[in-house]
């Protein structure tokens, strides 16, 4: 195999412009193909990573809707107590979100206010500390910059709640820290406090309402979900995998479809062009190939030469396409992340070794298929007639 490879290499080196252009073309197409493979699963992988990072492996809701999208859980403290008592469960955190206006001096911002029960925080503190005392809250970086506040400052909070009085009075909160909250979207203010403080701000202390319960299982998420379902048949429990499955069915379909369509078109495009390049190249060298056959090169050998030429072009282009594709993915990710409602920590293009393997496999198949027609031409070349034509012309 090394002899045909060396021969193919010499053939390519002999014509640097066309070889370079062919390799660059494959690199560009390969980069696009890699990006489409990364896009097809990117959001799902990113979402899974984000969910896993929060440390909860089961979400409990009042309806079949995704957490935070459907009906609220009434009587959340009872539900928390019932679920926490299950042996399959290690911890339960009720979570509720409302909208709020935050104001500091003459500045104000509309924010999402997260109320979290229990002690395990769902955010990452950047400056300051967790809200430990009554009417403490953490805010995200955008809210801190918009209001011009740092930990220790006091802000006025006017909540707009779905449960409780329609217009609760404004209350003062102390900013205990600046944090990165889960599912924060760019240029959106968000804040988080203890659930009891959110209920206070809503003017309904002890309302016992939660959007959903975040549960940490004792080790087996699926068993915990089943146990919760049995203990509280009025509630729905989803493991992270089940949630991802539901999201996969209902959301993000557009990007999966477009990546499939574009990957198919890209492959077809690459196949067509490499076939044309190799075919024209072989047609220009028919005399040379016939001479080699006359000198004793076997049919298998000349066919292998063409295959190796294709493999070299596609292989070199494929290797170049990986860094190019990663750079391109970063650029495309920046474009797509400007879409409203996309959390900062989510990415459309997520690198995974499996995608790289699939990319290599697709390019190998392209090299093989693209070489098929020129290999056929070389294999069926009439040696004597070709040499005669060459001499006459």
């Amino acid at each position: 195999m090394s002899a045909p490879l060396a021969f193919a290499w010499r053939s390519l080196v002999r014509q640097p412009p066309r070889s370079t252009l062919g390799v660059l073309g494959v690199a560009a197409v390969g980069a696009l193909l890699l990006d489409m493979l990364l896009l097809s699963e990117g959001l799902i992988l990113s979402m899974r990573e984000l969910l896993d990072r929060l440390g909860y492996d089961v979400r409990v809701t009042a309806s079949d809707a995704l957490p935070g999208m459907g009906a609220a859980i009434e009587g959340a403290p009872d539900a928390v107590a019932a679920i926490a008592a299950l042996p399959a469960v290690r911890a339960v955190t009720p979570i509720r979100s409302e909208d709020a206006e935050l104001a500091h001096r003459d500045r104000q911002v509309t924010s999402v206010l997260l109320g979290v029960g229990g002690t395990a925080p769902v955010w990452t503190i950047l400056r300051g500390r967790d809200p430990e005392n009554r009417r403490d809250l953490v805010i995200n970086r955008y809210a801190a910059e918009t209001l011009g506040v740092e930990p220790g400052a006091t802000v006025t909070l006017r909540a707009s709640c779905s449960h409780g009085p329609t217009a609760p009075p404004p209350v003062e909160f102390r900013v205990s820290g600046v944090a990165e909250l889960p599912f924060d979207t760019p240029e959106t203010a968000s804040a988080a406090a203890r659930l009891v403080d959110l209920e206070d701000a809503c003017g309904a202390p002890g309302a016992g309402v939660a959007d959903f319960l975040a549960v940490t299982s004792a080790g087996d998420a699926a068993a915990a979900a089943v146990a919760i379902g049995a203990a509280r048949p009025d509630l729905r429990a989803f493991t992270n995998d089940q949630l991802i499955g539901r999201v996969q069915q209902t959301g993000f379909t557009y990007f999966r479809q477009i990546s499939t369509v574009l990957a198919t078109i890209t492959m077809a495009f690459a196949l067509l062009l490499i076939t044309v390049l190799l075919t024209v190249s072989v047609n220009q060298r028919l005399g040379e190939v016939a001479a080699l056959r006359a000198l004793g090169f076997s049919q298998r050998r000349v066919v292998l030469d063409v295959l190796c030429e294709s493999a070299l072009i596609v292989g070199t282009g494929g290797v170049l396409s990986v860094p190019l594709g990663i750079a391109l993915a970063r650029w495309l990710d920046t474009i797509l992340k400007r879409m409203p409602g996309i959390p900062e920590q989510m990415h459309f293009f997520v690198f995974e070794p499996q995608a790289l393997l699939f990319h290599a496999g697709l390019l190998a198949a392209t090299a093989l298929l693209a070489a098929a027609y020129p290999m056929r031409i070389v294999a069926r070349l009439p040696i004597a007639a070709t040499l005669r034509n060459e001499v006459i012309s």
């Binding site: 412009p17 066309r18 252009l21 062919g22 660059l24 073309g25 560009a28 197409v29 980069a31 696009l32 309806s63 079949d64 809707a65 979100s97 409302e98 909208d99 006017r158 707009s160 779905s162 329609t166 217009a167 069915q249 209902t250 959301g251 379909t253 557009y254 479809q257 574009l262 890209t266 495009f269 062009l273 044309v276 390049l277 024209v280 190249s281 220009q284 391109l328 650029w331 495309l332 474009i335 797509l336 400007r338 879409m339 409203p340 409602g341």
Partner: protein, 294 residues
């Protein structure tokens, strides 16, 4: 102009709700029902799946056990507004008058008239007052939030971003195509090396040959671009029909507009012509004898 509760941002004009697991549906015999049965609209997909037709009566309930159900008469079948973000999920939905929805979903403990709605669409006498109206409303009604519909641009922004994404993909595709095109033209020009050499030897100046190559390039690129456009126009219907069938939607996936066609021509023709000239230029710099030599 729309006003809605801040926690439930989806305004619904003519109450719509999805038939998810919470909604039990049973077709019933029309003869068994009272004459003042409220009317509803049923999505095409739901009608097809359940074999429903206009005039049929059906019972809707808000729980899977079918308790507190109510009978409705199908007044029409509608095509849901296509939504690219919901591609792949079949819209099994019904639309009903708001009072009917409230009566169906109202909790026993909630007195009639005190239910909540998610959004109220307001048509102002003068649409130019939208900003002022929103400010006034937000100051007077702390529990609700009003915003002009012209500012409710989340979905518009989504499509602007998607358009940019498609433009970026198209740019990379054009770049890859240009590289391949150059490779092909280099090969084709090389194939005509001897002919060009002979033309040089019989006295044709480089400029004249270059002009000929340019005209040839424009013609080939023009014909290629036209062929590409015809191919796109021909496949437009096929692609749309396939994906509309695949996802059971009225969404238009591909639309070749005159603007798109013009952009394609404006990119493809100059690109093809320039690629031909660039590929020929290196060849034409060589002497006629060197070119004609075998």
């Amino acid at each position: 102009m729309e006003a809605h509760n801040r926690n439930e941002p989806f305004g619904l004009k003519f109450s719509t709700f999805l038939l998810a697991a919470l909604l039990a549906l049973t077709a019933v015999s029309p003869s068994a029902q009272a004459p003042d049965v409220p009317s509803i609209l049923v999505s095409r997909q739901l009608a097809a799946r359940e074999g429903l037709t206009v005039g049929d009566e059906m019972r809707l309930a808000t729980d899977v056990r079918g308790e507190r159900s109510r009978t409705f008469r199908i007044a029409g079948i509608y095509e849901p507004t296509p939504d690219p973000m919901r591609l792949g999920s079949v819209p099994l939905s019904v639309r009903m008058h708001l009072p009917d929805l409230l009566a169906l979903t109202r909790d026993a403990a909630v007195p009639a008239g005190t239910e909540h709605v998610e959004a109220i669409n307001v048509a102002l006498a003068d649409p130019a007052d939208a900003e002022t109206f929103s400010r006034d409303f937000n100051a007077r009604a702390p529990g609700a939030f009003a915003r002009p519909t012209s500012r409710a641009t989340d979905s518009a922004t989504t499509f602007v971003v998607l358009e940019r994404f498609h433009a970026a993909i198209a740019a990379v595709t054009v770049l890859a195509a240009t590289v391949f095109l150059l490779a092909l033209t280099v090969m084709l020009v090389d194939e005509r090396r001897e002919t060009v050499g002979v033309l040089r030897l019989i006295g044709l100046p480089v400029r004249r040959i270059l002009l000929q190559v340019l005209v040839e390039g424009v013609l080939v690129a023009g014909l290629g671009a036209l062929f590409g456009l015809l191919l796109a126009l021909g496949s437009e219907g096929l692609i749309n029909r396939f994906f509309q069938w695949r996802y059971d939607t009225a969404l238009v996936f591909v639309r070749i507009t005159p603007r798109v066609a013009l952009i394609c021509l404006a990119i493809a023709v100059p690109l093809g012509a320039v690629a031909t000239v660039v590929a020929s230029w290196a060849l034409l710099r060589r002497g006629g004898l060197r070119l004609a030599r075998r």
